[in-house]
Symmetry: C2
Subunit: 385 residues, 2 copies
């Protein structure tokens, strides 16, 4: 018996392969998308867990849709309207997988930004979807390209990360949000808005979700991995009611429901009086790390020919290099004890891709970030020779 | 945009629909498959959770395959050999889903016992597999029918629950285990051995897993939902190494990994000095409840024309009724404030099915079980008129 073709053919994630190397060595990893453990609300967790551990009802089988108090909290926090329902997922990763399984038959067309989140691209590949892409500009997707796809009438959904995009850190402008929402409404194309980084904004003003501008044609995916802690694997999917029973049936078949104790923990944390203070402190920490990274790059002569777009939140910056083989650069960097991810990983094989690196600033201390950028500089300098 | 056909067409689980009714009313539910909360090891959980809540490393992203100490414990507990690997799953439910996604393209043939676990049938339906069945006899599957399927050469896998089957409670004889293993080896057909109830044996001697008799052609699914608590959603999949990378890639795409704190909790519980005593007490409790159920049925004149097979573990008995419309009986029972599941739910539409009811004995106290059987008796008596 052989595994199905896409699993035989899909390579494992480069990032997670790198992570497994990184954990064994004296390497500074600017590659992963890990929150820093100092941002986990351990004090709140400790108190909440001791209560949870005494409540038998949290250890029984439970509703597929999720733990009702957490659903209520999410309904308030994200302004979920009457026309929508919430499903608790194992992180927003499961949300992407469920959306793909609900809507995609083999060969169906998905539109995504180029570049896009590697974990989503893998799901689309396993589902044997046809992937069409739109170029990402500084303020969001290229609208002409998007409309060109939509006019063809065969798009199952548009998958996008409007806030602090992975890998680029790009945050869509209000105008782009309005334009995309208008296109989804006009062409009745479903938007899958993946928003795991949305609440990790550390400067500038929050913009409306695109989903809020075209709610009847939008499914939103949220995650508590960045705000609280990723080991919990707790996220949420918000869908127009007409799709809820399909999602609920699929979630039930997939794993019956998400674990209950950590849903209760997430609920307790979100409602704890200290949580907002904690979250604000996390964002300040990320801001400081981002500024260290920006300073380290801007002040180092080896980066003079590189371009780094500013970001207002999230975990990544996108460093564009002079034209070069970025996979080789990334490999050489690893030999020089610093890990980064080359742009090639985030594109369809056929798409044009710039020479760029994704660099994470959430995980390491400012000192380690500085050190990592110094190590990377040596590789870039050598590459330029 | 419409959901894919099998999600539009698959009805939600009757059992879970019933469960949602049951939780709101003064109904005695003999329908669900819930462990009793008194069997959750709350003392151990409380101690272990307080340690887990102070360990930041358990809240970070982690390896897709699972928490290494838990994998080690499982490797020892289930005699996992060098030729096999362990993947931690969200209950054995996710194990069934992953197996189906790894091996099944639309239309591929799966063989299963008739009757079989409803949650597995739903997954096979969503995957648009072709389901072929073999009749279940008192000591396991009909071997002639099984070989007839295997000889056709197009079977992707044989899904089975050899220990304390859901819904029937049947436990395969040693001879049937050997015969099935021999057929899997001869025809190189993969066995998916779903073993969530295996450790809930309360009388008789444990028999070898079928997987241990044909290890190179077997994937085993274990669950800690019955031994510890289902709300944790922790299970394990044990696969020949040649399939591991496919499972790992799919699990990564599906939800990155299973939550870490409750993997650590499961590890702590399994290794706690009091756990074996606790598990033995749980099994004694289930035995007492089973005996109450058996006695209530055998001593009540309304059940004189019914047949109840003896069980040595698990959570269910299968009550065969004189030929009747069991769906109507189940509905009338619900109106009479007792919930049971009619046999129709566990069969392919086309398969012959006996008039039978699945009755759970793990959840309710002996007194409630007696009361439920009395309530059901009134319906049966009426039905006979």
């Amino acid at each position: 018996m052989n595994p199905v073709a896409p699993l035989r053919n899909t390579p494992p994630s480069y990032i997670r392969e790198i992570l497994s190397v990184v954990s064994n060595k004296d390497i500074i990893s600017l590659a992963g998308g890990l929150p820093c453990p100092e941002s986990f609300p351990m004090n709140i967790i400790e108190t909440a867990m001791s209560t949870i551990a005494t409540d038998k009802s949290l250890f029984q089988y439970a509703a597929t849709s999720g733990y009702a108090p957490l659903i209520n909290t999410i309904t308030e926090r994200y302004d979920v309207t009457d026309g929508h329902d919430v499903l608790i997922t194992n992180g927003s990763q499961q949300g992407i997988d469920l959306c793909t399984r609900v809507f995609i038959n083999k060969g169906d067309k998905i539109v995504a930004e180029a570049p896009s989140y590697l974990g989503a691209l893998q799901i689309f590949s396993i589902a044997q979807a046809t992937l069409a892409t739109v170029a990402q500009e500084n303020d969001g997707p290229n609208i002409k390209q998007l409309e060109a796809h939509f006019t063809q009438g065969d798009v199952s959904f548009f998958y996008a990360i409007p806030d602090f995009h992975n890998p680029t850190g790009c945050c869509w402008s209000l105008e782009k949000r309005q334009q995309v929402a208008a296109l989804c409404l006009r062409y009745k194309v479903l938007l899958i808005e993946d928003a795991p980084y949305r609440e990790m904004r550390f400067s500038g003003d929050s913009l409306p979700t695109v989903a809020s501008l075209c709610p009847e044609f939008a499914i939103s995916l949220f995650s508590f991995s960045k705000m609280i802690a990723p080991g919990l694997r707790i996220g949420a999917l918000i869908t127009p009611k007409r799709y809820f029973s399909s999602f609920n049936k699929l979630k039930q078949a997939t794993d019956l429901h998400t674990n209950v104790p950590l849903q209760a923990l997430t609920h307790a944390i979100l409602n704890h009086t200290d949580f907002n203070t904690h979250l604000a402190a996390s964002k300040q920490r990320y801001k400081a790390r981002y500024e260290s990274l920006a300073k380290a790059i801007s002040s180092h002569p080896s980066y003079s020919k590189c371009t780094m777009a500013q970001v207002e939140g999230g975990m990544f910056i996108w460093l564009t290099l002079p034209n070069c083989d970025v996979s080789t650069i990334a490999r050489q960097a690893l030999e020089n004890d610093v890990a980064v991810v080359p742009s090639t990983e985030f594109y369809n094989d056929d798409d044009y891709h710039p020479s760029a690196l994704r660099i994470n600033f959430s995980y390491n201390s400012p000192e380690k970030i500085q050190d990592g950028i110094d190590r990377l500089a040596k590789v870039l300098k050598k590459g330029a020779n």
